[in-house]
């Protein structure tokens, strides 16, 4: 959805949080890795009672004995019981992970947030310290540390925790910087939100998941470093650890090759369990819409395919665009389908402007994206079909978007004007490149010809110095100019149908009027059909011939623009119109209580 309001976001986060534990428990990976780690913790704590032998007790009569009923995993070169040593090895392993993680999170995350958000000197200093830590070869530092402070794993792992802090710091900082540069944080800052609240509301949501994954990763790295040090023979010699066992096994690799297997397996499965647990938490935290598209699409039968094949649709329509019984939904975590567009039908003739009006979440943008075939990857067309000049864009039979047909039309016959000008230009390419490339692709013009054409179009959309603008990058132009550029891009190949998704919403009021004038003028001049998605009746009154009013994904009312504005039939249309006339823009859902009171 392109027009998420803050209220909606807050609402959806709450839902995600509530079902987080449920979704975690439903994931078998969580159960497997979680129980494994639980067993480890228990074995570590109760090692004395669980281990069948004293892990240090040597038995010269049973050196390198194979697996037998007395020694379940055999004995090592000193005749010590391998199973008991594995069980005792849990202690040093888990303690290492805990020390490292706690140290690095406590230092790294706050530092990264502060550095990334406030930038400038704070950022320079902390980034510099981070670079310094990263430049220190961890293992060598750990050697130096154990030389100075003795072979204590507590000290070694604490130092390693400090050394690996950049893992959290950089991640947090990069994420925060990215978010900070996004327009919405600027918007939040301008609208007077305090710095602290901006961090909490926008930025924490972005960095939370990466931090959790990183924590699992670093637990694993800590275990592998500790084992590696022990393997090199540089750990505490009295401490029982899997790394030391691995080293002893490697020495005896010819006589008893299984000796490396047990500690190797113990190390790998413990690190693996941490990684799996981290992954499971990430999956649960991620968007509730994380359902594999390819598999889920086939899972949902088109429930109203019969509806779509009734009488009127049989005869090929004379309309340029026909949308019939369209339903679009998103698969939910629990397997249900949440419909955002249901049973929407309309048509559009050549040169006609159809306004689709509704509040955020009414499904109007999703309807527009269906026509373009550019729904998000996890959206599912549950029923209905779309036809453009007799070509099926969404198949009547299967409900599949016919990307091949659409690819032939997109940019050439059907064009798109997005809502948010700044986020719809690739920041890494110049305006000129982004305008010329489609023209060379679609109209097969040479670069020079395309350039001339684009210059003409930029002039047409009211850009004063087109030569200069073409050499600029998107961040160097204003929002109003970017929207003109996007309009120029949409009309550059002379389309027959223009899909405009809230083309003026993100602009200043004065610029809005100019862009509307421009759109009206272009539409008349080029004779384009236009689907105009908006929440604003003013825009509709200005441009549209006919109007559809949508609410909760359904068409509430449709008709000619004059009739509908003069004498709206449905109560919802009246409320919507009423709130407009009071000068308020209904950005949020009108609640049930509001509707009852009117």
């Amino acid at each position: 959805m392109t027009n998420n309001t803050p209220t909606q976001n807050a609402h959806s986060t709450e839902i995600i949080r509530r079902s987080l534990i449920g979704r975690l428990l439903r994931n078998p990976l969580t159960l497997v890795s979680g129980s494994f780690l639980l067993i480890l913790v228990v074995s570590g704590v109760f090692a004395q009672f669980l281990a069948p032998f004293d892990p240090q007790a040597t038995d010269i009569n049973a050196v390198l004995s194979p697996i037998n009923s007395k020694h379940l995993l055999g004995t090592d070169s000193a005749g010590r019981d391998v199973l008991s040593r594995i069980i005792f090895g849990v202690q040093s392993t888990l303690i290492s992970a805990v020390i490292t993680i706690v140290t690095s999170i406590v230092i790294g995350v706050p530092a990264g947030m502060i550095a990334g958000y406030f930038g400038r000197k704070l950022d320079a200093v902390s980034n510099w310290i981070s670079n310094m830590l990263q430049s220190l070869p961890a293992i060598i530092v750990l050697l130096a540390v154990s030389a100075s402070f003795g072979n204590s794993i507590f000290v070694s792992m604490f130092v390693f925790g400090v050394l690996i802090t950049p893992g959290f710091f950089r991640l947090t900082r990069t994420a925060v910087m990215g978010v900070r540069n996004e327009l919405y944080v600027d918007a939040a800052r301008v609208s007077g939100l305090g710095d602290f609240r901006i961090i909490i509301r926008h930025i924490f949501g972005v960095v939370r998941a990466p931090i959790i994954i990183q924590a699992a990763m670093i637990s694993g790295i800590a275990i592998s470093v500790q084992s590696g040090l022990a393997f090199l023979g540089l750990g505490d010699p009295k401490l029982i650890s899997w790394g030391v066992m691995l080293n002893e096994g490697f020495v005896n690799i010819f006589s008893s090759p299984t000796l490396v297997v047990w500690p190797g397996l113990a190390i790998s499965s413990t690190i693996g369990a941490f990684a799996l647990l981290g992954n499971a938490i990430r999956d649960a935290l991620e968007d509730s819409q994380k359902v594999e598209t390819s598999s889920s699409k086939s899972k949902y039968k088109r429930n109203s395919s019969k509806l779509a094949t009734n009488d009127s649709s049989k005869s090929k329509s004379n309309h340029m665009l026909t949308v019939q019984n369209l339903s679009v939904g998103y698969a939910q975590g629990d397997g249900s389908l949440k419909k955002v567009v249901s049973d929407v039908s309309f048509e559009l003739n050549k040169g006609e402007v159809l306004g689709i009006v509704g509040e955020s979440g009414s499904g109007k943008s999703q309807t527009a994206f269906s026509i373009l075939g550019l729904l998000p990857a996890n959206a599912i067309i549950a029923s209905g079909h779309i036809e453009f000049e007799g070509h099926e864009l969404v198949s009547r039979e299967t409900g599949a978007i016919r990307q091949k047909e659409l690819a032939a039309f997109r940019g050439k016959r059907i064009a798109y004007i997005p809502q948010e000008p700044m986020s719809n230009l690739d920041p890494a390419f110049t305006i000129g490149y982004q305008l010329i490339r489609p023209v060379t692709q679609i109209l097969k013009l040479s670069k020079d010809e395309a350039r001339k054409k684009v210059l003409g179009i930029l002039d047409m959309v009211g850009i004063v110095n087109p030569e200069r603008v073409m050499s600029l990058y998107p961040h160097e132009i204003s929002g109003g100019m970017a929207q003109r550029v996007l309009i120029a891009g949409a009309i550059s190949c002379e389309p027959d149908l223009l899909i405009a998704d809230e083309p003026t919403t993100a602009l200043d009021v004065t610029v809005q009027a100019e862009v509307l004038d421009l759109l009206r003028d272009l539409q008349k001049r080029l004779g384009m059909g236009m689907v105009l998605v908006t929440h604003n009746f003013g825009v509709v009154a200005d441009l549209a011939d006919r109007v559809i009013v949508m609410q909760y994904g359904k068409v509430v009312e449709q008709g000619g623009v004059r009739e509908l504005l003069r004498s709206p039939q449905e109560p919802y249309t009246k409320i919507l119109l009423g709130s407009m006339l009071e000068g308020k823009t209904p950005m949020t859902m009108l609640t049930e209580s509001q509707r009852d009171s009117k």
């Binding site: 100075s148 691995l246 997109r410 064009a415």
Partner: protein
């Protein structure tokens, strides 16, 4: 741009200075038992005093530090306490082995991880799951465990590759390749495992951006969008991942060089640490820091070039 480079270089020099100072004081602060370690327990008191004087350990640490620093600036990192060899020379002769190992691993891993990450992000389905499985497996099994497994299978049970040792490229390119095969494989798995997943999520988040949809709506072919626009937008994240991997590898090779008896810097570091040859360890620290600074600078330059917004004026 020139100002940017010189500023980064200056900050790199400062970084080197601070890092090496911290390392120096950390390592030489507890140099009480150095002479005993070098001479053995049987050494008499006079011998110890003589040795300490010979090594300059009887002078205050600050004086020794500035001495060391003065020489280090000219590229002279002193002499080994054990062999009296020039540290800079012995490091330079070993740098090649380590850099070859790390370089080959990084290049291979970058290619494999980008392909896997891209496929997983775009196609999803089984490739996505495969990348996740590789990610977890490669991460769960530390490189020295992989190495032990590889040595057991491909050097001991079926002796295709040498279990240990290093053959210089100039001596015999084929043997060089053979001696690289197992250590490189042991390191590549882990590097690919962690970077492929991060590159996948970087690409995936780019794919969700508004401008990708707009490019599609303009009729630009999917392939061009992916390779020209999406890959480029995901590159800064990918480069950051790889630069972190590079530093990780500089540590990772220490164990691998030890395990395969490769005459690199890591091998030298471990043997010098165990034998108490601290100036050599100090030299390894300095060289490693220089390598990291150079790589970070390169990544910064690439990122600046890739994203016009980041370009520093």
């Amino acid at each position: 741009m020139l100002g940017f480079i010189s500023r980064r270089l200056l900050s790199g020099v400062l970084l080197l200075l601070v890092t090496s100072s911290v390392a120096y004081f950390l390592m030489f602060a507890s140099s009480n038992s150095i002479a005993i370690n070098l001479l053995g327990d049987a050494a008499t008191k006079d011998q110890i005093v003589a040795k300490e004087h010979e090594l300059g350990l009887d002078r205050p640490i600050l004086a020794r530090y500035f001495d060391w620093l003065g020489h280090a600036v000219t590229g002279n990192l002193g002499k080994s306490w054990l062999s009296s060899e020039s540290i800079s020379e012995s490091l330079l002769s070993r740098l090649g082995v380590t850099l070859t190992l790390v370089g080959v691993v990084i290049i291979l891993a970058a290619i494999i991880a980008t392909i896997l990450g891209m496929l997983a992000a775009v196609k999803g389905g089984w490739i996505d799951r495969l990348v996740q499985v590789i990610g977890i497996t490669g991460f769960a099994v530390p490189n020295f465990v992989v190495a032990i497994f590889l040595v057991t299978v491909f050097a001991i049970q079926t002796p295709i590759f040498p279990a240990t040792g290093w053959v210089p490229f100039s001596e015999d390119p084929k043997q060089w390749l053979m001696s690289l095969a197992l250590p490189v494989s042991a390191l590549v798995l882990g590097t690919v495992a962690s970077s492929a997943q991060q590159i996948r999520s970087a690409i995936k988040s780019v794919l969700e951006r508004d401008w990708v949809r707009t490019l599609k709506s303009r009729g630009i072919p999917q392939r061009e969008i992916l390779f020209k626009h999406v890959l480029r937008a995901a590159a800064p994240a990918g480069l950051t991942v790889l630069s972190l991997q590079f530093v990780g590898l500089l540590g990772g090779v220490v164990i691998i060089e030890q395990l395969f008896a490769l005459p690199g810097m890591g091998y030298l570091a471990v043997s010098s640490t165990t034998s108490g040859d601290t100036p050599v360890v100090m030299g390894v620290v300095v060289y490693t820091v220089i390598l990291v600074i150079v790589v970070n600078l390169l990544v910064d330059l690439l990122n600046g070039w890739l994203n016009p917004k980041n370009r520093v004026k």
